[in-house]
């Protein structure tokens, strides 16, 4: 058999590596390689099976069509429109993205991952995958929603920044909640119980930020403050996940 040349050390070997800057760089590369490997694997599986994407897109399209029917001939107030958009995005997210970790546990592939990759790399790979899926959904859903609801968008850049912040926040929340409930038996109940306090502030922030982005009456810099708040919330969620996830992932 051809032997495998070793490329990098994985993060599980941190303690075996002498403490030199060069070796620390090697360890760091290994961590990112693992995260990218998990991401590529998930992307390939999703492109072949389209389980998450199908449920996400179907949910969003159905919701938007219903909104379109309800609005026939009318115009939606920006505050209501913003809330409605993020309610749709929220339910789509948890219909499609919450199962990334659950699928690994249910199919028995989680054990192989545990033995082969460090928890932080797995978390990062899953987060990248959820971000990708939600970004695709946002690219489809937001323009469609703006068209259906006949929303005025005075500055497209502002709306894009706010939506990007909301997508990051929702993807981070879905990833961490998915990780928390993956091993539980009553996942549905836990999903709601854990998700509520994590997602509620985020949804309120995204709704307000979107209202500011599409309202001509909002101040020039309000959208920037709002988008900054959303990215900060997403960063905080990721930081908390990095601390908590290894404990949850390794618990038995």
């Amino acid at each position: 058999m051809t032997s495998w040349p070793s490329l990098t050390r994985c993060c599980g070997s941190v303690r075996t590596v002498p403490e030199s800057p060069a070796d620390r760089a090697l360890v760091s590369v290994g961590w990112m390689d693992q995260a990218l490997a998990v991401y590529r694997k998930d992307l390939r599986v999703e492109l072949r099976e389209r389980t998450a994407l199908a449920s996400l897109v179907l949910f969003v399209l159905t919701s938007l069509v219903v909104v379109g029917f309800a609005l026939t001939g009318g115009v939606m107030e920006p505050g209501v429109a913003a809330s409605l958009l993020w309610v749709v995005m929220f339910f789509a997210t948890f219909a499609g993205l919450g199962h990334t970790f659950v699928a690994e546990e249910e199919t028995g592939t989680a054990a192989g991952l545990r033995l082969s990759a460090c928890p932080e790399a797995i978390l990062a790979g899953k987060l990248m995958m959820n971000l990708t899926l939600l970004a695709v959904v946002a690219v489809v859903a937001v323009p469609l929603f703006v068209a259906i609801a006949k929303l005025p968008v005075p500055a497209v850049g502002r709306l894009i920044a706010v939506v990007a912040g909301g997508v990051c926040g929702l993807a981070s929340a879905a990833t961490v909640i998915g990780a928390l409930v993956a091993k539980a038996r009553a996942r549905g109940v836990l999903f709601g119980a854990i998700g509520f306090p994590i997602v509620l502030p985020l949804l309120m922030m995204t709704a307000v930020a979107t209202r500011h982005a599409i309202s001509p009456l909002a101040g020039d810099w309000m959208w920037l403050r709002d988008a900054g708040g959303l990215f900060s919330y997403a960063t905080m969620l990721v930081a908390a996940s990095v601390l908590v996830f290894p404990i949850i992932w390794e618990s038995n």
Binding site: M1, A37, A111
Partner: protein, 221 residues
């Protein structure tokens, strides 16, 4: 990923697995009770016992997938004790519990686990790994279309990619044909030269792979 030169033999020549009074319980029931033993490089240990006696649980504890509730498992390499996370670099695990991704091909599985283990993405090595378990003929077939025997062979390919010094085989002959059984014997003999092998099962042909057999009773002791 660009392949880099191999840095030399990645693993130590001497690996010791030591179990001291190991026990595990689920809810209030002790599934494994007070298992003690020592295994050194070059040896193959069989673990036998009736269904539900805790063979797989014991293997999972050695594999670091479960924490013992009593006692301890220590693994050392060239005299140096390894911590929980370090051990994982040294372990390969084949088990009916090991899931595979139905939408990926055999070659993609091998490539994925190679990347996780920090091995270079080398197409020849991928085919060689599949060849070693008799799956070279259809590297592009998705696992969803595999027979259970082919899936078991792929588990061997993924578990032995990084040439682990400790190989844990739970029901190693499950679903394999005569050629598959010969493949398992080859893997175990290679492992004997590389380090330690633990075989958990009940079939005589599985336990015949081992030098010595640890028999667990139905009460897990």
């Amino acid at each position: 990923m660009d392949p880099l030169p191999a840095p030399g033999p990645p693993y130590p020549s001497d690996v010791v697995v030591e179990l001291t009074g190991v026990g595990k319980r689920f809810d209030r029931k002790w599934v494994v009770k007070d298992i003690t033993g020592r295994l050194t490089s070059g040896s193959v240990l069989g673990i036998a016992g009736p269904n539900g006696s805790g063979k797989s649980t014991l293997v999972k504890m050695i594999a670091t997938l479960l924490h013992p509730d009593r006692g301890s498992i220590s693994i050392s390499a060239d005299g140096r004790p390894l911590d929980w996370h370090e051990r994982r670099r040294y372990i390969g695990w084949v088990s009916p519990d090991t899931g595979l991704y139905r939408a990926l091909t055999g070659a993609e599985h091998v490539r994925f686990f190679a990347r996780l283990h920090g091995l270079a993405d080398n197409p020849e090595a991928v085919l060689s790994a599949l060849d070693g378990v008799g799956l070279h003929a259809r590297p592009g077939l998705i696992v969803g279309a595999y027979s259970s025997g082919m899936a078991q062979r792929l588990r061997y390919a993924c578990a032995t990619l990084h040439q682990p010094p400790i190989l844990l085989l739970d029901e190693p002959h499950m679903a394999l044909d005569a050629e598959g059984l010969r493949m398992v014997r080859r893997v175990v003999e290679q492992q004997r030269r590389r380090g330690v092998c633990i075989v958990a099962g009940n079939r005589d042909d599985e336990l015949a792979l081992a030098d010595s057999v640890l028999r667990i009773g139905s009460d897990g002791a």
